[in-house]
Every structure is written in structure tokens, then in C-alpha cells.
Symmetry: none
Subunit: 552 residues, 2 copies
Amino acid sequence: MKNRPDIHAPHGAELTCKSWATEAPMRMLMNNLDPMVAENPEELVVYGGIGKAARNWECYEAIIATLRGMEEDETLLVQSGKPVGVFKTHTDAPRVLIANSNLVPHWATWEHFNELDKKGLMMYGQMTAGSWIYIGSQGIVQGTYETFVEMGRQHFGGSLKGKWILTAGLGGMGGAQPLAATMAGASCMAIECQESRIDYRLKTGYLDTRADTVEEALAIIEKSHAEGKAISVGVLGNAAEILPEMVKKGIRPDALTDQTSAHDPVNGYLPIGWTVEEWFTKRETDPAAVAAASKPSMAIHVKAMLEYHAMGVPTVDYGNNIRQVAFDEGVKNAFDFPGFVPAYIRPLFCQGIGPFRWAALSGDPEDIYKTDQKVKELIPDNPHLHNWLDMARERIQFQGLPARICWVGLGDRHRLALAFNEMVKNGELKAPVVIGRDHLDSGSVASPNRETEAMMDGSDAVSDWPLLNALLNTASGATWVSLHHGGGVGMGFSQHSGVVILCDGTEAAAKRVGRVLWNDPATGVMRHADAGYDIAKNCAREKGLNLPMLDK
Amino acid sequence: MKNRPDIHAPHGAELTCKSWATEAPMRMLMNNLDPMVAENPEELVVYGGIGKAARNWECYEAIIATLRGMEEDETLLVQSGKPVGVFKTHTDAPRVLIANSNLVPHWATWEHFNELDKKGLMMYGQMTAGSWIYIGSQGIVQGTYETFVEMGRQHFGGSLKGKWILTAGLGGMGGAQPLAATMAGASCMAIECQESRIDYRLKTGYLDTRADTVEEALAIIEKSHAEGKAISVGVLGNAAEILPEMVKKGIRPDALTDQTSAHDPVNGYLPIGWTVEEWFTKRETDPAAVAAASKPSMAIHVKAMLEYHAMGVPTVDYGNNIRQVAFDEGVKNAFDFPGFVPAYIRPLFCQGIGPFRWAALSGDPEDIYKTDQKVKELIPDNPHLHNWLDMARERIQFQGLPARICWVGLGDRHRLALAFNEMVKNGELKAPVVIGRDHLDSGSVASPNRETEAMMDGSDAVSDWPLLNALLNTASGATWVSLHHGGGVGMGFSQHSGVVILCDGTEAAAKRVGRVLWNDPATGVMRHADAGYDIAKNCAREKGLNLPMLDK
Ligand SMILES: NC(=O)c1ccc[n+]([C@@H]2O[C@H](COP(=O)([O-])OP(=O)(O)OC[C@H]3O[C@@H](n4cnc5c(N)ncnc54)[C@H](O)[C@@H]3O)[C@@H](O)[C@H]2O)c1
Ligand SMILES: NC(=O)c1ccc[n+]([C@@H]2O[C@H](COP(=O)([O-])OP(=O)(O)OC[C@H]3O[C@@H](n4cnc5c(N)ncnc54)[C@H](O)[C@@H]3O)[C@@H](O)[C@H]2O)c1
């Protein structure tokens, strides 16, 4: 079927468009479809199920051609991956404005979306797929790292040294856990029922070693701790069988979570007593039987988690819906332990801290290493951040255009960006860089089952906030801005916005960067201050934000 | 209870803010709450059920105070009627960005909205209430007038002489019906359950007379027709009780519609058998009970409309969602009669023609009369438009700041605005004017039961379009931009955006006006061209729009 050549963004400092402000989105769109980056480039699928970068190949070609012809005072509108219009604006306006997958609420279902998709009228943009700032698996490692670091901050005085985290699931996302844990200084015991998954994680270096039993894994961890080192160990088995055993035996982890695919009771969770082979067969021949067996198994799994929670072991749901399944199976206190966002991410969001990232349009890894160094210089007092940068350089391979992610917040983002812009200007970097973030950020998302679960004031579902975020980023002069629906949690369940800004070394860019990368995280602080979080209110006061009703 | 003085926007050419770009939204917010404009100013309700201009009085005061203090390179964010932040942007950026009533789709219901509203976390912005460009009943008169004229054209050979239109609801919008009907040459019988509403329409001259019964009203109409004149008559009562009676008695109107606030089952529709007093009390004490009673009443109302439709009486839903409510109540053929947009308005939208409007910040009616004259000069070849301007001047009283509405499209809007800006510059007008439109316009709304009902390609529910419209207006330099949810048809059923731009006579304003008032209607032509309408495709070609996939 395949008959088009692989897509790779141009590298280097030579323009193929009329300006960097159009070259940048063009390269990043291409980069999203690079076979090193995209999960299924032939179908234009970047990540996350069917998250696409353009509606179809005709639209992709038209976007590229349009960007190539655009002037510096024009703006391209992209509607669900299709280029629909070019309008005269001005140089301080975005060059691309994107709206993907948005549906009037009453019709915001997978059923209606699929109907429109089939007619060629829509596209699922996920978060960074349709907004052209996905950078590969580095993102998930960093997110998990930050979660574990925050766990350490809240429960272990800032250090995870000598601690071990118990989890399950070494799949696409969950496989980041052992690497993120050891990067954060903790050991990790990860229960996984598929041998192939353990092997794959060993091969890529995300997992250090494996053990046949929990006792053996514990011995390995103890030995490593005695040597002052963190280690990750995979254990083959079923978490729903192993966890209750561990409770019985009095084996106590320092922290506990889970990343089996509990959100999908047919394809995502191995029932107690089943072999993997049985599971795979029955998934095809009798899916209902799988679900009927996996759900009570999850309930048992959650009950063990609840026992640990009751003992005081920090326990969180990592966004796989396992509490809900258990609850529906009659475990009435399933929601006693929190989701990871309210537990660990929200305090960061309150300070505008989130998944900040940038990519080198030069294509040269050295450019990223130089920015790594600059980050360390400008933020000298954050050992976790320095540690991340070192570990990321050492252990994470670039995919497509070299890029870096690191969670920094209001006050730091624009400082770093201005320094990068300066480095472009004085030739330290070989070409411009673009700076963006995930939509899963402090001020850019309303998603009541994930990012905005259990907001203090009950405003989980209020989506005025991401809309204001997108409007303000547009008004501030971002290079491209996007508004999406349904990312992460699916149709009907989230609204969110993205932003990317170009540092091309000019004074004009510096002004825009200064505004956008201050205002963007500031909307996150604002949103959380408005919800009543003291961390956010204090942050707003410290940073001198002008929030008219802050003290009312 | 009332203890605050009436609100009137300042008149004249003297600033009370630091610039016209903040003075303008301040005056227009105040104007929305002027007792001459707002339906219930004490509750901050402007029109359309509970469509409000600010969340509460504290928020209102804070918005005014904030606007007074703002610089020309700052932008205020308003979240559901509350001023939540002021950010540094630039002079070509909007001074105010507004997001009202937006909810993540799965939670986008009146139940959840009301919960949040009660907690003080939300506000219903309707369309122009929360976006500060409501100008009283005039706003709807021309749209209704054109609709009735088109009705006459399609069903009565171009003349409504001797015909009568049956409708209900004489509220903020619905009150325009009797005047629009008589202007169009038809008589009108309007059923309204609140005596005060009938009295108010009599007082303002929108309604000619009242009758105690349908029979009496019919006699008045017959007498008037015998004299060769059209007349409008208000009848006190409940439409859901009166319509089925009329059907039974064989009373046959020439055309039929409805403008009760059916989109809001708690605050908008009087249930059968209830007194208005009971309704008002229960709205506060037991809103669920009101909804439970009003919905079946609406179903009965719609069944009567369906009977008339089946008899061949031209019948349209006037955008209040009453068919949907009836449908949900089990009236499976509720959508047998069409909405007024596909029936009469869409051909205009295809050319970017819609409810363009402006207001004179001087407060001086002469300023509007001078702009009326200018419109005639610049569009000399449209007798229908000239006639409208003459009749409007003669029969429509200004409410609050003098304002004018006239439906013009792409190519004319920016031309008129640039001329107005010139008139401000050379002192012909005593102070700046603001130019805006309803959210119900060509490119600014997704509302599958109203503005985007039955789109040619099935894209009724795709809300990427209004989001792109808001983002582009922000990028083009509008003075304030808004994104709302639920206007007209209620929670869950629409997403739409508003725009207002200042003409202060400066060169900078001329540039912004030229961009915004070209781009805004152009997005409407684009949206309809994308859906496949030939009128729109031809318009796009004629006007030279750059739509990358127009011919693919
Ligand atoms: N930010 C977030 O909210 C977030 C982030 C990452 C992952 N998640 C969620 O975490 C889950 C995992 O994601 P993924 O991409 O890694 O999924 P995946 O399907 O690729 O991996 C799941 C793994 O769990 C294993 N597994 C299933 N049942 C098991 C059992 N009983 N015992 C031990 N192992 C078992 C499977 O063999 C598989 O390797 C998903 O539900 C995902 O939605 C959420
Ligand atoms: N262009 C459009 O699509 C368009 C234009 C105007 C209005 N509308 C819709 O029309 C509706 C009316 O708007 P409005 O601003 O006039 O609202 P409103 O709330 O000011 O007025 C509604 C009126 O209906 C009366 N009413 C309620 N129930 C009644 C009943 N059972 N019998 C008789 N009268 C009854 C009320 O007393 C009130 O005066 C809204 O749903 C609005 O969204 C749509």
C-alpha cells in the first residue's frame, strides 16, 4: 500500500518558506509525521490511538504548499486538519490558527465524530498530534518523572533515596515508569503479565533487570539500596494475584500505583487465573467473557491498593480508570485514594509548572545540548531539573528533530526562551528553535476525569479557561495556536489548547516570546487561584499577576 | 430590594478610561444594563431568559474599575462574567477577551450549569448579553422583518397584505415580532403570558393593541384588514393552552412561529395550568419541578404547531429549541417543520450577510442619522436597505446608546466602517462608534438546531468554525472578542463567537477595522463554501478569498 516517501523535516538554517514564522510550523508538521516520531505515519497517525497531524494526504500537501507561499502578515486557518483559508492579519499575529475535533456538546460523541470522520469532515487531533508539537516518548518519561519527584517531595522530604515504588503494567505508557523512577532516585518493582513487554523494556534500557518472584525482586532492590543505588525490576505475573499476596505477607512498598490498561476491560487487563494465551484468544472469540472476568479481578487489585492506602502507603490512580471499574463492581471506597493529578500534578499546575518543551529546527543535537546547558545556568538551584537534563541526555534518544522537555513554570519559561532567542541571534544555535508545550498543562485544559479532576471549587468541567488561554496566546503573538476537543480521554470529555512560539533571534520575536511565555503559564496560575488553591494565590501575588478579584 | 442607581453609559466625547479602546467596552457593558436596554437590570439580565452582562454586581464593579485603570497594551480576560486577569499584550490586540458559559461537552447540561451558577462559578452569557453588544429590540427587528418578508415572498407571491402571523412570546427578542410583521405588511397575533410584557410592547410602540381573547383579537385584525391596514394584537395567555384550542376551533393563521424562551425550561417557559406568580416562585424554590412541568407543555405546544404545519400553514421554529424539547419528550416528528435559518437566512449567510450593527458612543441620535445617510450614499443601489433605514428611523426608538442594525455582507461591512472611522476623524460624528454583530451570523456559530441546521454536507455540529472565527478576529485586532456556549438554544446545543471593534478615527483603527470587518464575514463565506454551497463558492471567488481547497 505504501507508496509515498518517508517525511523528514528539512534541517539547517536555510529557508524553504518565505519566513521562519511559516517554516517553523511546516517543519514541525513534517516532524510529527517523521517515521521516527509518528506511530503510523502512513495513516498520518502520530500517537494516542488515532491522533492525526492532518486530515488526509491531500490536506497535508495543501498545508505545506500554503505555508510555503504565505507572507509574514498572513494567517492560515486549519479546521480539523484541513487548510480552509488564508487571511491578512499582521506580523504580531499567529501564522497558523488551528481548531481540531470540536463538536457542539450535544453531538460530542465518538459515534457522531466517527460519522463525520468517515465523511471526510473531521479529524481527531489528540493533543500535540494535530497541533504539531509532539516530540516522541520523551514526553511521557518526563511526566512520570515529575510525578515521582513530587511524590518524593510530599512524602519523603524531597528524596526518594532508598525507597521503592510498586506498580504494574509495562506497556506503551507504563513502560516509562521504571526509567522515570530510577531517574527520580527511587527503585521500582513493576509487575507485568507479558514476558515480551518485560523483554522489550530491558532491551531499550527503560528497565534494569527482572526477577522471577517478588522475594527475589525485593532482594535485588535491597542489595542495590545497600550500594546506594536505585534499580528497576520487572516481575512476571498478574498484579491482581500478586498484590493481595504481598499484603498478606506484610511486604510494604514505599509508594504504589498502577498502569495496566484497566480503562479497557477486554483488551487491557488480564483476569485472575488466566494465561496470557487464553486472554488473547478469548479477546477475539468471547470478549464479553474477558470483561466479565477482568472486572472482578480489578476489584481485587483495587482492594489490595486500598489496604496499602489504609496503612499509609502513598497510593494513586495513574489515569487508567481502575477505581471506577472497582467502584462499579461494588468496591464502595474505591475512590479513597486519589488520582495522580490532584495528588501530585496540581501543586505544580498551581505555579504554572507543566510540560514545557522545545525543538531545534537545525536538526542538530548540539543545539539542544547547548540549550540544556543554558537551562542549568539560568536555573542553577534546581537539582531535580539538572538531574533530569543529564539523565535525559544520557538515556533518551532523540526522535526526529532534536527536542527537550522539562517541567518549568511561570517566571522561568519566558526567561529560558528569551535566552534561547539570544542564542539564535548570536549564532550559538545553528537555526531557530520553537517552544511549545503539551495541552495537558496548567491553564490550557478542562478535563474532569483527568487534569481537572476534583477541583477545589467544583469547576472541573468549566471550559472557559482553555478558551481564554487560546485567545490570550493569540493576542500575545504566538506563532501557532490550537483549540482541540477530546484529547487524552476521548470525545466529550475534554477541551484544551496548544501554543507554539518561534525564537528566530529577532527583537520582534523576543517581544512576542516575552509576552506569550509569561501569559500562557500565568493563565494556569490564574485558573487555579480562581479555584481557591493557596499555592496558586501565593504564586500570583509573588509574581505580581493582576487578577482583579484575587482577594475578593 | 433595589438600592443601586440605574446604570447609564457616559455620553459624549470625554474619556473616563485611559483610552477609547477601554472606554468603548465599558460604555457598552453599562449600556447593556441600562434600564432602557436590559430586561431585568437589577439581576444583570439583559435578554433571552437569564442572559447576563456580568456574573454579579461585585464582578460588574470590578470589570468597570479594571477597564478604567487599563493601558492601551493590556488585555482583560472575562470568564463567565467575572474579570479574572489583566495581561500585557500589544496595541493591535483586543482589549477584552471573553469566554462565557463554556462547559466540557459531557457536562454541558442545564443541570450542571445551574449547579455551577448556584455556586457562583458561572453565568449564562446568551449571545450579545455577555459580550456587551446588545442594542435592544432593534437588533432583532430587521432579522425578523427580513424573515417575514421572505416568508411572504415564498408563500404569498411577495405580499403579506391581508395575512396574519400567529406567534407567542413578547420578551426581549420576541417583542420585535409585531413591529416586524406590520413593517412587512402582515398583521400579527402574539400570545404572551405576562401582562407586563404586553404593556411594555404597547408603550414602546412595537405592539399596536391588545385583546382579552383570541376571538376579540381576530375581530380586531379583520376590521383592520377591511381598512387595508396591518395591525398587531397581543393576547394574554399561555400559548400551550391557547394553540390547541385554536386548532380545535378551526382558526387558521396564515403563518406560524414561536418565541417563548423554550431553550430554558426553568426560566423561559410557563407550564400549562400554572400562574405566572407560581412559576416565578418555583423557579427559585424548585427549578426541577418547573422543568418537569414545562417540557411536556412545550410538547403540547409543538404538537399544535405540527397540526398547522400539516394543514399547509407555513410554520417555522424561530431558534428557541422548542422542537428539540418536544422531540426529547417523545414527539418524534417534532422536526417536521423547519428552522427559520435553512428556510430563509442561509442564502444570506453564504454571502457573509448578517446582523451588522453599530452604536454611537456620543449618545447623540444625530450621529446615527448621519451614519444612516452614509450607508445610503455608499450602497446607493439597494432600495430595500434604504427603505429599512427610513422605517427604522421612523418607528424604532433608540434604547440606551443610539444604535443601528442593517444586514450587509462581505465587501460592504469594512467599507461602511472605514467611512464611519473617517467621520469620527473629521468631526462629523461627535465621538467614536463601535461596530459589532450578533453571534448569530454567517461564520460565528455552530448550532445544529438553528443557524447550522441541515447543512448541505452534514457538518451542522462541527464547532471548529466559530472557534476559528474568534481566534482570527483576535489575530486581526478586534477590540473585544467572545466565545460563548448555549446561546439561543440553551446548554449543550450551540457554540458561538462575538466581535466588536472600535472606530476612534485613528489610522491604527482604520487598519484594524479594514482587517476585522473583512475577515469576520469572510469566515462565514469560507464556512459555507466548505460545506458546498454554490452561492458561497461563487462569492469567495468573486471577492478573491484565498481558500486553499476551494476547488478540490
Ligand atoms: N496521563 C495519564 O492519565 C496517563 C498516562 C499514561 C497512562 N495512562 C493510562 O495507563 C494505562 C496504561 O497505558 P499504556 O499505554 O501503558 O497501556 P498498554 O496497554 O500499552 O499497557 C498495559 C500493560 O499492562 C499489562 N497488564 C494487563 N493486565 C495486567 C495484569 N493483571 N497484571 C499485570 N500486567 C497487566 C499488559 O500486559 C500491558 O503490557 C492506560 O489505561 C492509560 O490510559 C494514563
Ligand atoms: N434569531 C434567533 O434564532 C432568535 C431570535 C430571537 C429569539 N430567539 C429565541 O427566542 C426565544 C425568546 O427570546 P426572548 O429574548 O424574547 O426571551 P424572553 O425570555 O425575554 O421572552 C420570552 C417570553 O415568552 C413568554 N412566555 C414564556 N412561556 C410562555 C407561554 N407558555 N405562553 C406564552 N408566553 C410565554 C415569557 O413571558 C416571555 O415574555 C429564546 O429562546 C431565544 O433564544 C431566537
